[in-house]
Structures are given as structure tokens and as C-alpha cells.
């Protein structure tokens, strides 16, 4: 799905329409390389902050055509399809998800996907520099894998923890002079619920250090597994897999008891027949487990904050990442904080836009990075 583009000149937005004069112009890219969906934003180096020449969200999936696939089944007889196209033709493809738990799980397909992203940018011969978001808890191996995947695709890269980028992207610098604007980086608790890990960070005017953040390897993937285990225990012959469970979760996830007034009914195929299963309890159990984990991390990190800062901090609890899309999550977390005795907390959920914020923050970082700070990947 290609989304709104703030117009820049046609010369820099379209590969086909690109003039020779722009061939050497450096293109800056902000990339949220997500396990399920990636968000890409780009702008020419030196362009004004408000100008974004390219913006797109693409499902992070690569489909490889089977040898035996019939002619004309796949568009342009493609051997490899990406994103929505791959999902659309999944019957004829071997689908591979390059990322697992927020980090590269399969370098070869990640490389193919990165090449596809580069083609989507229509950068031609221009130098492409990308700031790429990484889970806060990722280690050096994860970075090496990511670097290997984009080697030869982007010219220069910088890897930055996603919570930093989310905060950067969420901050609206144009409103800082507005006395009514509450600067979200002055005293906030950021909760980033990804696929593989949940990261909670204190952002109090500075970027979080190792002491200002807590991470656990419990997030969307773990919720999927809990839901799958629960459904298989109740319906052993339903033949569900994790991919299908993910779809069910994305449609039905919730954490508030009130939401069970609309039960989660999943349609699955058993022996070629459609069967409707009530999976309300199982989906609820998975989401509740995540809520509890997030609550515990938040409580522990709030305890580390300067006592004088806590009152304001509680007004700025910000939930981002895929987990923030769970219905009722913000309200439920707020309720749990109140139950624990925290005074008047306010939890905000970034919701559907969260991917935009990471990519936007990455693009902001790319604009401000100095030449020496880019890691060379080509020549």
C-alpha cells in the first residue's frame, strides 16, 4: 500500500522520470524494518525537514515461485514476489519472512527484500543512505546480519534502536514553542511492543542509557504461541498454524473484559470445510499475558526514576509497536497502574501510525547524521 506523499519534485520521486541532473543526488532513507510490516520514508539530502519524497508500508515477506508453477500464473512470470503481491499469490509461492522476532532470521531473503525496497525507492544511480531501526535489545550478531543483508543494497547505513526513533519521530519540533504542547521526550515512559521483544524506556530529556531501559524476549510472537497452544488444546483437530493465529490475533486481540461482548470467532478450514471457532478465551489469555509483562516492566522502570519526576512521567506513558494495536491495551495498562497505586497515570497508544513514527524518526536521524558517522557498505 503506497500512502500519501508530500510532494517533492517529480524528478526525485520517480525513477522513471528522473533526470540525469539528479543521478548523483544523495537519497536519505528512514527504514522501520519490521517483522510483519516495513515502513520506508525517503528524502533528498539537504531537503527541508518537512519534505518526504517517498513513503510506503510493505508487508515484510518474500515469495519464491515453485519450479512447477504454471506460466502466466504469476505477474510477469516473476520468480520472486514481495509484500502484498507475495501474499496475494501465496498459493504458488514459498513464502519466507526474512525477520523473526524483530531481527534478521534469514539473510538471503532479507537481502532480496532489501533489494526490493531499494527498487521501490527508484533511486537510480544515486547514493542511498539508510538509517535502520533495530530492536533495543538486539545484539551485535543481529546488527551483523542486518549489515550483511543490506551490503551492496544501500551505500551507507546507521543502525539505531527503534525506541529512540519512535520518540524522535513522535516529537513535533514545530510545536515546541506552543505552551500547550507537551514535549514527549522531556519526561516519558516509552513502551515498544514488537514481535520478539518488549522494550520499556525512560526518556527524560536524553536518550535512554542501558540503565534507563528494560527488555524482555516476550512480545507478539510469544502471544501468538500462547494463543495457538490454547486453541489447539480446545480444538486439537483444527490444523491452525502460527501464521493463521497471527491473522486471528490482529483481527480479534483485546485485553478488556468488556470487549468480549463481541466474541472472537475465527473461521478455519478443517478437512476442506469451513468451521467457526470461538477463540475469545485463547486470544484474551495471550493478550492478558502480554499486558501483565508490560505492566511489570513499567512498574520496575518507574521505580528507577527520580521520585521527583514520577508524577509527570506517569502523565506520559506512551505505547508503541505492534502490541499497541491490541484493543483496549492503553486503558487496561492505565487501570493496572492505578490498581498498583500509581497516581493518575495517563497512557497514550500510538496505534496504527507507530510504524510511521519509527521511519520518520529514522529519516530525521539520517538528516542530522554527519558524513563521518555513516558506515560504508559499498566501495
Amino acid at each position: 500500500m503506497k500512502t500519501a506523499i508530500i510532494a517533492k519534485s517529480a524528478k526525485t520521486t520517480s525513477a522513471a522520470g528522473e533526470g540525469r541532473s539528479n543521478e548523483t543526488e544523495t537519497l536519505l532513507v528512514g527504514l522501520d524494518w519490521g517483522t510483519n510490516t516495513s515502513c520506508l520514508m525517503a528524502a533528498a539530502k539537504g531537503s527541508s525537514e518537512s519534505k518526504v519524497s517517498f513513503k510506503e508500508q510493505i508487508p515484510t515477506v518474500v515469495g519464491y515461485a515453485a519450479e512447477s508453477v504454471l506460466h502466466r500464473v504469476l505477474p510477469n512470470e516473476a520468480k520472486v514476489l514481495f509484500g502484498a503481491d507475495a501474499i496475494k499469490h501465496k498459493l504458488y509461492l514459498k513464502l519466507v519472512r526474512p525477520l523473526q522476532g524483530g531481527v534478521i532470521g534469514d539473510v538471503a531473503s532479507a537481502r532480496d527484500f532489501a533489494q526490493h525496497l531499494r527498487e521501490r525507492l527508484g533511486a537510480g544511480d544515486r547514493e542511498v543512505r539508510a538509517v535502520i531501526g533495530m530492536p533495543a535489545s538486539s545484539d551485535m550478531s543481529a546488527r551483523e546480519d542486518a549489515r550483511a543483508a543490506v551490503q551492496g543494497v544501500f551505500h551507507k547505513v546507521i543502525f539505531v534502536p527503534e525506541p529512540f526513533l519512535a520518540a524522535l519521530g513522535y516529537r513535533d519540533e514545530s510545536r515546541l514553542a506552543d505552551s500547550k504542547y507537551q514535549d514527549p521526550v522531556m519526561n516519558s515512559l516509552y513502551i515498544d511492543i514488537g514481535a520478539g521483544s518488549t522494550d520499556v524506556c525512560l526518556v527524560q530529556g536524553h536518550y535512554p542509557t542501558v540503565e534507563d531501559q528494560l527488555s524482555v524476549p516476550f512480545a507478539g510472537d510469544a502471544v501468538d504461541q500462547i494463543i495457538l497452544d490454547g486453541i489447539l488444546a480446545a480444538y486439537p483437530d483444527c490444523g491452525l498454524n502460527l501464521a493463521r493465529v497471527r491473522e486471528i490475533k490482529e483481527k480479534h486481540s483485546f485485553v478488556l473484559a468488556g470487549d468480549t461482548s463481541q466474541p472472537a470467532i475465527a473461521t478455519v478450514m478443517v478437512g476442506g470445510k469451513a468451521r467457526k471457532l470461538d477463540v475469545t478465551d485463547q486470544v484474551g489469555a495471550g493478550c492478558e499475558a502480554l499486558l501483565q509483562k508490560v505492566f511489570e516492566l513499567s512498574r520496575d522502570l518507574i521505580a528507577r526514576a527520580d521520585p521527583d519526576s514520577v508524577s509527570e512521567l506517569l502523565q506520559n506513558v506512551i505505547v508503541t509497536g505492534g502490541g499497541s494495536l491490541i484493543k483496549g491495551f492503553g486503558v487496561a495498562l492505565q487501570a493496572k497502574l492505578v490498581e498498583e497505586g500509581f497516581e493518575n497515570p495517563r497512557v497514550r497508544v500510538l496505534g496504527e501510525n507507530y510504524k510511521d513514527y519509527v521511519a520518520k524518526g529514522a529519516l530525521k536521524a539520517a538528516r542530522q547524521a554527519k558524513d563521518r558517522q555513516w558506515q560504508n557498505l559499498i566501495g
Partner: protein, 173 residues
């Protein structure tokens, strides 16, 4: 002769106490370099004071001499840890350069994965370039830790400092 190695005997042995002070002073300095201030605070406020009190009471040294001995230790440990990080950086640079030169783009066997790459120092939110520098430092430290853990690199120095005041105890006895 039966060697008494019980905890209570160890806890009253000035050599053991000194070695513990050396050990935890090194640890505090390393943790400070790693930006783990709450752990540093625990060591400085909880663990080291009782060790220092016990050692001072049993060392046989006068209070001024104890203070001087400790001050000297703290200074030298700080310098050693600073130097250790610099040496580790130089060694890792050299090792990486040699491996890269010898085995270009190859599957050099990877050391064990390290912990996550996080900032060790505070960077104001407005300063993106400084944040990127701090991340690069953290990445380098994580890579260095993976190739040569700083605690291993500093272990020989710590062993030199251990047992140091014993001759003085002997002299004063």
C-alpha cells in the same frame, strides 16, 4: 596442620578482605565505564564500605596508612580500568584488521554473542549526532567485549594488586 577455610575465618583474614576490596573496586570501575550507575551505587554504598571497615580493623595499619593505601588503590584501579578499555580497543582494532586482511569477507568463526548494544552515557535528546557517536562507541564496546571481555583483559592487573598490603602488614607487625 588443618587449613581452616570456613567463611568466618576468611572474612577475618586481612589478605582475603583486601582481595575482595580489589575485586569489587575493579568491578565498580568497570560498571561505571559500562554506564551501570545503579550497580556502581550498590557496590559503593553497600558492599565496599563493610569490606573496608573490616579490613581497616584487621590490617594492622594505622588509620592514616589505611586511608593512603585505599586512596592509592582506588586511583590505580581507575587508571588501570581506563587503560584496560583503551588497550582492549587497540587490541580489538588490531585483531579485526588482521582478520579482515587475512580472511577478506570470510566466515571467520564468530565469538559468542554479546549483550544488547545500549548507550553507556547520557546524550541530550536534541543532539542526534552525539547520540549516533554514543551508539557507535557502544557498538564498539560490545564488539570488543565479544572478542576480549574486559574483565578477562584486566584480570592480570587485578591479580597484581591483590595481596599488596601484606608485606606492609608484615612490616608493621
Amino acid at each position: 596442620m588443618v587449613l581452616d577455610t570456613t567463611a568466618s575465618t576468611q572474612a577475618s583474614n586481612p589478605r582475603f578482605l583486601w582481595n575482595e576490596i580489589v575485586r569489587w573496586t575493579f568491578e565498580a570501575c568497570i560498571l561505571r565505564k559500562e554506564g551501570k550507575e545503579d550497580k556502581v551505587a550498590f557496590l559503593l554504598q553497600e558492599r565496599l564500605p563493610s569490606l573496608i571497615r573490616s579490613w581497616s580493623a584487621r590490617s594492622g595499619l594505622k588509620p592514616d596508612a589505611c586511608r593512603e593505601q585505599l586512596r592509592s588503590l582506588f586511583n590505580r584501579v581507575q587508571e588501570s580500568v581506563e587503560l584496560g578499555f583503551i588497550q582492549r580497543r587497540l587490541i580489538v582494532d588490531e585483531v579485526c584488521a588482521r582478520l579482515a586482511g587475512r580472511l577478506p569477507g570470510s566466515g571467520v568463526s564468530k565469538p559468542a554473542p554479546a549483550a544488547s548494544v545500549g548507550l553507556r552515557r547520557r546524550v541530550p535528546f536534541d543532539n542526534v549526532p552525539d547520540m549516533l557517536d554514543a551508539l557507535a562507541e557502544a557498538e564498539f564496546e560490545a564488539e570488543g567485549e565479544r572478542i576480549l571481555p574486559v574483565r578477562s583483559a584486566l584480570a592480570p592487573t587485578a591479580r597484581i594488586f591483590a595481596g599488596e598490603p601484606v608485606p606492609q602488614v608484615a612490616l608493621s607487625a
